[in-house]
């Protein structure tokens, strides 16, 4: 099967104590590991691998890299060949380059973002276990996020110069890594510029997304919640914890997802996302959003442009 899903995101934070408090008390993750460099590793209760978020100390916010898990170690060999054949340079990182994690392929997306692939990470199990499990664990904290669902990356796009790393990323992931295109925004005269894309490997609406911007960067990492009701409870918790909320509960047109956007204490944008939305499938027709309906796609209810949502990122 090759790439299965997002494995982890490595995120830069400026105040580690505040960050850990945020990801544990607001999102409900647990710290599962720390290393000598001061990096902190966390997982959600419904994940079975050792970690899905790495917080790294830094003097600015942003994404270090995003890693996807492949099914078998041998997939790494195949994918390395395909990526290189596509013309992208791959570095192989040995087992242990990240703790509790097997060898990794490291490469840069056309947009400049670092992506990694790995096949092995230490198995620790979900918090409900695998024998006669309850549907959710006792002692949930915060929003009780189930898992890290996807990242959205801002990708350099300049209609003047013709640079479009959204389209380049999309083609690369589809051709070299077997992602398939689920939704896209087409802009410009004739609607020929692919300005944003949502791609999947699982059958959820997306596992990664790209949005065009003047400069590449990190827009958000998203955490899965179970329902619109859990979105309300999550927003209540954010209010109690004085989290800076960017966009209060609403629905996306794109993906149909139910959402809240908010910031971690360093200014990295987070999302809590609910709703299967639809069953993503290779043969499902690609959904296209036209430029005039762009903001309906982003915030379905109001359809209003919120420039800070696309202009502010790390």
């Amino acid at each position: 099967m090759g790439v299965m899903r997002i494995g982890h995101a490595s995120i830069k934070v400026m105040d580690m104590a505040a960050a850990v408090k945020h990801y544990t008390e607001v999102l409900g993750m647990k710290v599962t590991m720390e290393d000598k460099s001061g990096n902190v590793y966390l997982k959600c209760w419904d994940e079975w691998d050792r970690y899905s978020i790495i917080l790294t100390p830094s003097d600015q916010a942003g994404l270090n890299h995003v890693a996807y898990k492949v099914e078998k170690d041998s997939d790494l060999n195949d994918l390395k060949q395909r990526i290189e054949a596509y013309g992208v340079k791959v570095t192989e990182l040995a087992e242990g380059a990240l703790p509790a994690t097997g060898r990794m392929l490291q490469f840069k997306l056309p947009s400049g973002h670092e992506m990694r692939l790995f096949a092995q990470k230490e198995f620790v199990g979900t918090e409900v276990g695998s024998t006669n499990p309850d549907p959710w664990p006792d002692n949930l904290t915060g929003a009780g996020a189930h898992w890290v669902d996807h990242v959205l990356l801002m990708c350099e796009l300049n209609p003047e110069t013709g640079v479009n790393t959204v389209a380049e990323n999309t083609e690369f992931l589809c051709k070299a890594l077997d992602f398939y295109l689920v939704e896209q925004v087409m802009v410009g005269p004739g609607g020929v510029i692919q300005a944003a894309t949502w791609l999947a490997r699982t059958s959820t609406p997306h596992d990664i997304a790209f949005v065009g911007a003047p400069k590449s960067g990190f827009h958000h990492v998203s955490f899965f919640l179970d329902s619109w009701h859990d979105i309300l409870k999550a927003a209540d918790i954010m209010a109690k914890k004085k989290v800076k909320i960017d966009v209060a509960p609403t629905r996306h047109g794109i993906t149909r997802g139910e959402t809240i956007y908010f910031f971690d204490p360093s200014g990295n944008r987070n999302e809590t996302f609910a709703g299967l939305g639809y069953l993503s499938q290779p043969d499902r027709p690609v959904t296209t959003w036209t430029e005039d309906k762009l903001w309906t796609g982003i915030f379905y209810h109001t359809g209003d442009a919120v420039p800070t949502f696309t202009d502010v990122y790390t």
Copy 2:
């Protein structure tokens, strides 16, 4: 990718007018086609292929066959080889054997159920379309089911004779068709008898399930709803429409799904199922239910045995 998902279920009904009324007014499907033999073809609003249910006139209830869709036509060649290599005889049905449908592989599961694979079915699109779509269509009727989600088949299991077609089906689907095992019930002394299994190809909790029984048969076909709230509205609608409800809203331990069971007018059991539950993945640990917790797995809230739930099927 090979098998993608369930494509359709062909179901025997004794009163076609009553059946069509049920699947349209209760489930919210639309009739998309009828043929000269009196078969009626229906689809859910969120499906893009021409049909997902075939109702066939009969003097008894039951399942004719269940069909799964594969990604590419060439997958059919590969899978035919693998199925035959596994020792299962395959008949190839020519394009048009079912209207609006390409060639099909037809074979029998070890349990005796007929399964088919196909790669092509006429594309008609979802009811919200693919350009700037609304999250749901106007004029939903009944429960507004999104799609046919899975079937559960009762499979001959006799601990005395050692016949266990649950285990045989499971091994066959995993080895020949690349399904992976998500949950299982292990019973008997030492818990060594695999008495029920849930298998997936998508990343939802299951695309097919097998439960051991004295005699093979058809337990239910399931329709996806969006949320626990939609389950309530669906149950309200069933009450209004005088549908015979088998099990009122509750949660499964197995799959974590939120559910209602009910019968179509011929006595075929239907389910409405909500909740992504969890992300099914090849590397997710298999969940095992032990015999003493079997009914907690089935009906999580009460954990009470409901013999008619497992004894009554078509």
Copy 3:
């Protein structure tokens, strides 16, 4: 205004430790007081008076009395006169007869149940306070019930002898205490026997209910939850805590309420109830359920008779 709402229910339990564990860990109440006789007093987080449940040690389950709160102390004088004028004997209990509680009127309903009225109980405040309150407190436990909502009393009814204490209770509460009738079940030839009634003083669907039975007794005390989603979470918690569930999540036709019935460890039936349902008002037309639709009224989804639901009480 006279009677405002239910003030508390005094309930007999056979194992105090198990009972306290149940009402705190399953319902989410807090113990606020104990007395020298071993009685335990509890309140829900959203109540402002000192207690709403009294657990009293006993060798059997059942209801000691139910108490309603009136607005002003002077209301007690007026109501005493009206109750006595109606022909019901009233005993006045001095302040302190129950700790933290003012003087009480004590009398027997025609069905034999003890009812009390009081105007004053020690104010302790809700758990979110009254200044800039959060919508719900941190550290909720169990189902996080908001308040004790109502009781349902089984009342002797014998069509042979013409004894109908449902009708007698109803007339008494309406005439002497200004309750108004919201819903009723009419049975027997011509539908002339008032076999069950739901009465209100607040604008929620009911503050007390009476159901006819061979022998008077205590059917259940009900706790308010916020939504159908909280009903699901409550049922999940009951499953985790091995609570004996009587009726899994469903909807009532009567009151439209969303419900779970379950038992405390002594066998007293509890309900968690969600949904405003409708706005109860003195001029709202009384809803009448006919005998043939009785079970649709009770369990709207299935409409099935569940004899244990009406036959089993304490």
Copy 4:
């Protein structure tokens, strides 16, 4: 009991056809009557009186009057005396001054808004009827609002001159009409200025609200929905119908209500409001919001000031 609840709001609209379309297709009301002056009368499905909204043709938006229903005709005599004793002039309008409506008391609140009281309006019944009713009717349209819940009036408040018609209205309604104060915002040095109040007669969080402003006006009329889930569906419908949404789904700190604000085509603000929130009672402690938490009270999740929300009204 005196005043029971809001009876209707009479609202000025500039384009009657567009207004009727809005109140029927978005809110789900039904037109029940029109008169020779071109006024259109509508009711919600769960209301039993002939109308709860009157749309009157005008060249500007705004509120003509809000009317509350009292329990008995004789209450009108008592209340007339009390209102006049309070120093407010009352005009009595004869039966038929409004069609299908009994005699009315007409008077001005200190803020200048016209209020009316009436005891009788033609009974037409809810859409589910009063015999074995379903919990909701077939053929709901739009958001399927249950009833008109409350109005919020902007009331002249000038700290410089000491004019505070919020406080004056509040005292008047409490003393002359037996409303009770549920929540309030206290601002200014020492928090002594009562800048906003929420008052109830039912046991829902409010039946009328007053907010201080430079000039008296009409802020919104609110419609009751059943749940946070119905709020999502309502927002989806508004998006489909291109309704101008003012505030997308969120929660109020004040009243705990779940809300959407939006505008009718004339610019009158509407709200859909869900959640019983809490049980309003005369002895429930008044909730006070301080000036620094004002916006948390208004929009609990973000706590952000949205000046247009308080500055824009009709």
